[in-house]
């Protein structure tokens, strides 16, 4: 079990349900390893700043993680974690390997809109 404070997706059904119930979803599929931990930590911190985005993780090594592993957008990936961004159930962006806060927020801003306090300031 991943020891993050994020919502854990434990099965293919839960993954489907999450996409049906949320317009904007970011799923980090990995292990508790050196490249994945920094991404989990950024996601945990961004949860309050992006309330319009659902942040979740999934164990890379469980059979049901094929819903991520087998995505066409991930077919050339060879570095953990696989991170997939969904809008209305469709993949809008996927990344492989470690990403920092700046890289992640840039994708969130581009596809899901700016974080809550930046929107309020405008």
């Amino acid at each position: 079990m991943l020891r993050t404070n994020l919502t854990h997706i434990l099965s293919e059904n839960e993954h489907t349900k999450l996409l049906q119930e949320n317009e904007n979803v970011m799923v980090c599929c990995g292990r508790m390893g050196p490249m994945c931990i920094p991404v989990y930590e950024v996601m945990e911190e961004l949860e309050t700043e992006y309330p319009h985005v659902k942040f979740a993780d999934m164990e890379f090594d469980i059979p049901d993680a094929r819903v991520i592993r087998n995505l066409p957008e991930c077919r050339n990936f060879a570095g953990l974690p696989f991170v997939v961004y969904y809008k209305n159930g469709k993949v809008v962006k996927a990344t492989s390997s470690i990403q920092n806060r700046e890289q992640i927020t840039s994708i969130l801003d581009q596809y899901f809109g700016k974080k809550v306090n930046e929107t309020a300031e405008k």
Partner: protein, 318 residues
């Protein structure tokens, strides 16, 4: 402005140790950290030479250190961006994310280092699509595939051997005609039938379409360039110190490491440095912890003197 007695820049082993010591001594302490808490520690799957602990993951050790620092009252702000610094003023100040200002009487720099990149065309493009910096994370993506390991130090040779569990063939590409690794790592690599060597050579370009498919290798002695088909490249060529923001402010050596004295004081009074960002020979979690301890004790001593100096000034004013 948010004022602290001490601000530590960096939350790796050195920064967290400094935070633990200072907070426990009731020094109001803040750690500002641009990445994830734990630094290079988190990049290590198993630490088996930390005294008193037989074996622990880097993540676990970092989490324990963070909890210990927080328990003593240390504040930690991670994943922030320091956009401006003033170390010569009194107090010393930092602007974070272009808006929040933090100040402190004493500063400890523990910004650590990051894996060195080759810096050649294609490297960014194929990161996670054939190029990796972590064998334990990504080794199993290269089952029965042919890979290259770049580097000639302990990490490169140790990881090359561990990658033979997955890969059909591992070629070590190293820029010199000899290795910098300990002899037993060299012997183990040379005795492994899956490992080949291309010495005195450098990768000068990564080539592929949607994923890495080949590399261009240049012989450093002859200048000849050849292309080699490969599925993956693992890069282990050491670390660079995260000291860019201190260039022109602190005294750095030719490797951009911060120059410190035996008390880990820098050239600016009230600014100390510890861990992988300083000029030193051995870079281990244990040496970072030792540095953090020395920096904390030196900083505490400086604060005591600072307070006394303030008292004298106050008396003179009255």
């Amino acid at each position: 402005m948010n004022h602290y007695d001490a601000i530590i820049i960096g939350a790796g082993a050195a920064g967290l140790t400094t935070g633990i010591y200072l907070s426990r001594a009731k020094v109001k302490t803040l750690i500002l950290n641009e990445g994830a808490v734990g630094g290079q520690m988190v990049l290590t799957h198993e630490i088996a030479n930390y005294p008193g602990i037989e074996s622990i993951s880097g993540y676990e050790l970092a989490r324990n250190m963070k909890q210990q620092a927080l328990k003593f009252g240390c504040s930690i702000k991670s994943n922030i961006k320091i956009t401006s610094i003033d170390l010569n003023s009194t107090p010393k100040s930092f602007v974070v994310n272009d808006k929040n200002i933090y100040s402190a009487d004493v500063v400890i720099i523990a910004t650590g280092g990051r894996p060195r990149a080759l810096g050649v065309p294609g490297e960014d493009e194929f990161k996670g699509k054939g190029i990796s910096y972590c064998a334990t994370c990504d080794g199993d993506f290269f089952q029965d595939k042919e890979i290259i390991v770049v580097g000639g130090g302990n990490s490169a040779l140790e990881e090359a051997v561990s990658l033979t569990k997955y890969a059909s063939k591992v070629t070590i590409v190293h820029q010199f005609d000899h290795f910098q690794a300990f002899e037993h790592y060299v012997t183990e690599a040379k005795n492994n039938p899956k490992i080949n060597f291309i010495m005195e050579s450098k990768i000068i370009e990564f080539i592929g379409d949607e994923k890495l498919s080949s590399v261009k290798i240049q012989n450093q002695r002859t200048g000849d360039v050849s292309e080699k088909n490969v599925d993956g490249v693992f890069i282990f060529i050491g670390y660079v110190p995260n000291t860019e923001m201190f260039e022109g402010i602190l005294e750095l050596n030719q490797y951009k490491e911060i120059i410190v004295d035996k008390n880990l004081a820098t050239n600016i009074p009230g600014v100390f440095a510890a861990g992988d960002s300083i000029a030193k020979r051995y870079r281990q979690v244990t040496t970072a912890v030792g540095d953090g301890t020395i920096a904390a004790l030196s900083a505490a001593e400086y604060l005591n003197k600072f307070e006394k100096a303030e008292l004298v000034a106050d008396e003179a004013d009255s």
